[in-house]
Symmetry: C2
Subunit: 209 residues, 2 copies
């Protein structure tokens, strides 16, 4: 099937959102924990996390221009701190439900039934039920004028992972930690490892490691 | 296990790269097809694709500051066009092998055994073996001075997907198309769908759709 730019422009808005969001492939599925300056918590599911660099350890996220996700972005900009929490099979419905448009005075932790675990010093909530999670410090915001979205870059400051997920070469075995993935706006998937491959060199074919 | 910022800074470089790259979760796994202005093709595996918006349909990719991936970035900046091709179980070793540091005069298509399929008008190569693929036009480059990486934003201009992968609401069923995912620098995974969930509303719990 062959779909042109014009076909995309003429799609119904929700059809297009589903199409373009799912086209991009499987994505990192996370819950972002924040608090406002009064200590009111917020929790928001996101699937636009991406790696920017390892030294310093940086990740980025894209925030849409609309109102729904602004509680999280506002809190990050206000306090400078946030948490990133992986989603497991046990909590993906709860994670999905955080995307409903709850008013600011409602904490998504309470309504979706997840447990907040406060970082003593930085006053932001982790998700107790998440097995892989880390503390982020805000570094930069870039406004992408091409469509009004915001790129937020943060630095990884503290990581919590299950002992059994960390392998001897630094690799975090996400399947051992129960982390799942997503596609599109609403599809959730567990994974099955095919293999890890050796570092690619010009004169040999990669082998399973 | 509790890992601090100092622990991360003190890690051996390769251990840290593996740790931070795998921490972020499962990622979109793609091959980027480009050509230089003389028509010499290049193919490069990437796992930093992310969704920026549906209207206009935009995706971003992060390029490292070092030399290895510059053939792809140079070609995108030279010609303004590139292709994005999903990876299936049948071709993930070949995809991985494109990350070896081949000299510019070598086409990765030839050495890893993938077939190029040229876009007649835009003179960039698709991967015949990929089942989900699209043509991108370069829009913007942002230099992220925080670590010297480059964010490249492009617009989706033409999409090819298998008929059976497109569902009636615009959702692209990546499992039906054989798309796989990756984690870290070298781990490849197929997926198994848990469910799609209904649009989240404040007064109901999501149901399987």
């Amino acid at each position: 099937m062959h779909i042109t730019k014009n076909d995309i422009i003429e799609m119904d808005q929700r059809y297009r959102a589903s199409f373009i969001n799912s086209l991009g492939g499987f994505k990192s599925l996370i819950l972002v924990g924040t608090a406002d300056s009064n200590g009111a918590s917020n929790l928001s599911v996101l699937n636009s996390l991406f790696h920017i660099g390892a030294n310093p350890p940086l990740c980025g996220m894209i925030f849409r221009p609309d109102v729904a996700e602004r509680h999280t972005l506002d809190n990050i900009l206000d306090t400078g701190w946030y948490t990133i929490n992986h989603v497991t099979e046990a909590i993906y419905q709860a994670a999905h439900q955080t995307s409903a448009r709850y008013p600011k005075e409602v904490s998504e932790f309470d309504v979706v039934g997840l447990t907040q675990e406060w970082h003593a010093e930085r006053k932001v909530p982790f998700v107790t039920e998440s097995r892989v999670k880390w503390l982020m410090q805000f570094r930069e915001k870039h406004d992408l004028t091409i469509n009004g979205t915001h790129l937020v870059i943060g630095e990884i400051m503290e990581v919590h992972i299950p002992d059994e997920a960390l392998q001897s070469d630094g690799f975090v075995d996400l399947e051992a930690a129960g982390t799942i993935t997503c596609s599109g706006l609403d599809s959730y998937h567990k994974t099955e490892k095919l293999s890890r491959l050796s570092y690619a060199k010009v004169d040999t074919w990669p082998r399973d490691i």
